[in-house]
Symmetry: C2
Subunit: 227 residues, 2 copies
DNA sequence: ACCTGAACACCGTTCAAGT
DNA sequence: ACCTGAACACCGTTCAAGT
């Protein structure tokens, strides 16, 4: 994708940490994160798996680098946003922009969640967010609570454990299962009735994300004006 | 732990799906979820890894079963709670009780997040939650939004991508890194000053969980009274 | 029917050897 | 210095064979 210096046939670009990480991201985008193996990354670069170890310490380090690369992409996007005006629409727009980047890398949220060592670019992202909150009237104490309350939502995603819509799109439930979860059945039928268009996947992820986000941002603003 | 029929020495309890799953939970509690391999579970039961395949379809099925077992433990606990009175303290107590169960299985949240097939007991848990919300005055539409807004918090945990306290407990930051994240440094120093006792791990997970939970529950109650 | 041993395909990774 | 081939330890899983 990026321009490369011309090479005589048979010649190969030297490996580098950067190329290794970008290749890993490309593989994950194409075939999912589980397709990212040392052998596959090597193959894709025309090298042996073992050659990668000169540029990343091990697979864990590679995945840390991949996460950091995605976070860098997020920072590049959100750094260009307008930060003037009241804090709430500014923070809201920032988080929704981060979300757009993650939607280009569907595997990223799951990977983010498993990393133990923290990515410098993820830290930087949160630093800027705290800056916006503070200059928007938050005490640092409230900004701190806000980071925890937002959790992964600060970066634009929320881990859904249970998608109520999964059952709906799979058609009517077996009678015995329906009897076991009467409230969900009642909820499903009413919501489906309200919105008959969305027959499949009637939970709109974006709408639900924004609902939850606004719930939190509204609540935080209320606490801000109380302090 | 549970009473077993007496066996003559050398005799062995027959395997069963239940015993396989309970053994897997015990291993995860002891040594973490990554220690749960087919070979290890077999060993622990005095059987070969391959024998497990007569009771679980494959490792994925085993992990699904493990998740469902934990969710069953949660349901057993929350079903005993008092549900009289206003919805908010009832739901709050229910979620915090679920959280207590998950704190006994630290690996469970991470596993929950990776499962694609949904556990019957997780579905049941959410069914009861919707029931409480509805009888507490929620429309089914709002209850539906509430499930998405709560996300993993409904079950008592929140995936933290970034623990601001991790840096604090690791001692003072290197100067160049501190300069790169000025807002976090300012936040850290102010919050640490407010609460000088908690020198290590100054983010109280339980306090932060409850702060975020109450933010959401308060917001939901406000929308409830508006509708 | 339930369980087993050997084997297979696939990992991440080590290491000595090449250039 | 960077890269490689063979090898090792560990997975999940298949399969034919035992009882």
């Amino acid at each position: 994708m990026t321009a490369e210096p011309a090479l005589t046939p048979g010649e190969r670009l030297p490996l580098s940490r950067e190329r290794v990480l970008r290749t890993a991201v490309a593989i994950a985008d194409e075939d999912g994160i589980e397709a990212v193996t040392m052998r596959r990354v090597g193959d894709e670069l025309g090298a042996e798996a073992m050659s990668l170890y000169h540029h990343v310490a091990n697979k864990n380090d590679l995945l840390d680098g991949v996460v950091d690369l995605v976070a860098e992409e997020i920072n590049d996007v959100v750094d260009g946003l307008d930060t003037s005006g009241p804090w709430q629409p500014v923070v809201r727009a920032r988080i929704l922009a981060a979300r757009q980047v993650l939607l280009r890398h569907r595997w990223a949220p799951g990977l983010l969640a498993t990393r133990s060592t923290l990515s410098p670019n993820v830290v930087t992202y949160h630093d800027r967010l705290v800056g916006l909150l503070h200059s928007g009237g938050f005490t640092y104490d409230l900004a701190h609570h806000a980071l925890h309350a937002l959790g992964s939502r600060a970066l634009g995603f929320s881990q859904e454990l249970f998608d109520p819509g999964a059952g709906a799109s799979a058609g009517p439930l077996p009678a015995e299962l329906a009897a076991a979860v009467p409230s969900l059945v009642a909820m499903l039928s009413e919501v489906a009735h309200d919105d008959p268009d969305s027959t499949l996947g009637w939970c709109d992820d974006q709408t639900e994300f924004e609902f939850g986000l606004d719930l939190l941002l509204d609540g935080l603003d209320r606490r801000r004006t109380l302090s």
